[in-house]
Symmetry: C2
């Protein structure tokens, strides 16, 4: 089929919050029939693979209300309005870990849940880390514990389901691939 597009017939905003907006859309399918689409709009986010001079991966342990549990993730955060993703990455790294970095490289970007959400995450690699005194503070509703893991520890955390989210599993696999390619 050449054209898979679904044209919007009608769109209704159900909810507009601090993090997400929910739209209920009626669309015309490629065969002319109609269907409903539930769409979550999200501002987008960044995540940072931050590697210390001791070759450890900087992680944050964080309670995730959606999962009703804590998980261990690479530092990440939502884009502010009109914020440049690279600046957002530097800001989130400092706020969540107190680290600043000498080099920051965009590795990839991906949509997390294209079936129902437009959230995109830009993943950066940060090196040349140093702790900043009096670093920028977390949002007042954010509480995290910092952990610095070797690659082997991070792989074990995946097996133990302490690391359990797409961006962090991507990050660990990225580092495994770099290590395998360097041999």
């Amino acid at each position: 089929m050449d054209n898979l597009e679904e044209k919007t017939i009608h769109s209704e905003e159900i909810f507009s919050g601090k993090v997400v907006r929910l739209e209920l859309q009626e669309v015309e399918l490629p065969n002319g029939k109609k269907a409903k689409r539930e769409i979550i709009k999200h501002p987008g986010a960044v995540a940072i693979i931050a590697i210390t001079d001791e070759n450890k991966i900087v992680m944050v342990e964080q309670y995730r209300k959606a999962l009703e549990r804590t998980i261990v993730e690479i530092p990440a955060g939502k884009l502010e309005k009109r914020e440049d993703p690279a600046e957002c990455a530097l800001r989130e790294l400092e706020e969540e870990t107190s680290y600043v970095c000498e080099s920051l490289e965009l590795l990839t970007s991906f949509y997390t849940s294209p079936g129902f959400a437009d959230e995109i995450i830009h993943v950066y690699l940060a090196k040349g880390l140093s702790k900043k005194e009096n670093s920028a503070a977390l949002d007042e509703d954010e509480f995290v514990n910092i952990e610095e893991l070797t690659l082997e520890e991070a792989i074990q955390y995946i097996k133990d389901q302490k690391i359990y989210d797409a961006k962090t599993i991507y990050a660990v696999q990225y580092l495994q691939l770099q290590e395998a390619l360097a041999k």
Copy 2:
């Protein structure tokens, strides 16, 4: 901080649809203060890295209304109520690609967007593929084109942003890692 838990004070269902439910929760933070959490409830999903006997990766091109564009993804789909993830993987593989497989192995599971959603994806590796005649049909609002890519083509698709979602980028990187480790 030992206990990062956020206790639910109040939860309100804003929307309940075919794919997602939206809850607005008021929580008590670790410091005793209150905050709002916007939570998307999702039934969970499976995705399948399906490798043909010619060592190609089976992909589906699909229009994603949330992104207003088509992207190329590994086959995937939502869990039905009380459906076993492995059975769901076999069902979705057949519906989307007409392939059945001799072996199916769970590789990993991950939450896609832990900041606001409880969607989990179980990723399977399927081998020993054969096309089934009169295979199970797609849902009536699903339209896909099938593509079979070499690993090199898939890597190029990521560069070209034709492949653009977390599970498929994870899948391609998984195959790159297996290839690098086999050398």
